[in-house]
Assembly symmetry: C2
Homo-oligomer: 192 residues x 2
Amino acid sequence: MDDQDIKLSVHLSLPEWMSGFVSDLKESYPSDEDKMRMVLDLAIRNVEESTGGPFGAAIFDTQSHQVISLGVNRVVPLNNSTAHAEMMAFMLAQQRLQRFRLDTEDHDFVLVTSAQPCAMCYGACPWAGINRVVIGARREDVESLTEFDEGPMPADWIHGLKERGIAVSQDVLRQESRDVFNLYTNKKGTQY
Amino acid sequence: MDDQDIKLSVHLSLPEWMSGFVSDLKESYPSDEDKMRMVLDLAIRNVEESTGGPFGAAIFDTQSHQVISLGVNRVVPLNNSTAHAEMMAFMLAQQRLQRFRLDTEDHDFVLVTSAQPCAMCYGACPWAGINRVVIGARREDVESLTEFDEGPMPADWIHGLKERGIAVSQDVLRQESRDVFNLYTNKKGTQY
């Protein structure tokens, strides 16, 4: 391999169908269940369109309940092991708001994710500037219903976020989140 | 904020000066110290040019000792909390080799990083397809010499990698790695 091949930039994108999805978004998503239902629609659509793994995420403004950014798993299509739904949502929210930490004195943000974040996405939470994480499926759902590994996490992972000012809510539409994995497995998607 | 503002793609780039750095790379870097010295040059240059935080990383082919990709911390310039040196190196290596896991039956890869990976970069290691991590400064060096937080890690983080087939070597040019933090602090860089 030639040194000239060394890459100096990379482009990460959400699927083409996302433009239509964005046009159909509601003005706001008041409850945790409202937020999660939209995120699960993202995950389901990602499976149906074969544009990545069975995971969706979004960042919302805590006060207005408006969507700041969306994310779906893009690992296989983009050849990028870091392109998890949560990471896409973090990067796209920060790009939109033009700051590397989302929260300010006046604004709080929540990450809503269809499944418990893996070790990488978990470790990314403290740097992103969110104040809360809302989770659908649990780690054991991911690992029993798919071949995905969640990675090495601290034993008390919820405490690790709490002591950095991030609250965690689990089991929001958990069964519906599990259903997305079954949909994916039935479709025999690439599991890595 | 209007839904039309929702971003669907993001571009991550290394600094302009990196092109010249790439031209000057050697054919190969046989020892761990050779590899680390080049990575520390990256970190130092990133501080001197004010193009990001005091961290550098690179992926090498374990057999040929050739550079596959480079990375420096780009969090502040890119407004992207995920743009750590290790993440840049992972993404750029995967883009070059056009696969989301680097390792194959015939090829192993090593991540060389100027400091112990934070919780996010740590959690990213198992998905990237590397077989070894070579580390300069320790967590306590980062946290005592800078205001950077390394995040919530498993108590036995080395074991978490080992059981996923990734070996860890620490303290390679540790003092030289610590010196980069002092350079950064003296330059009063943005610490986040």
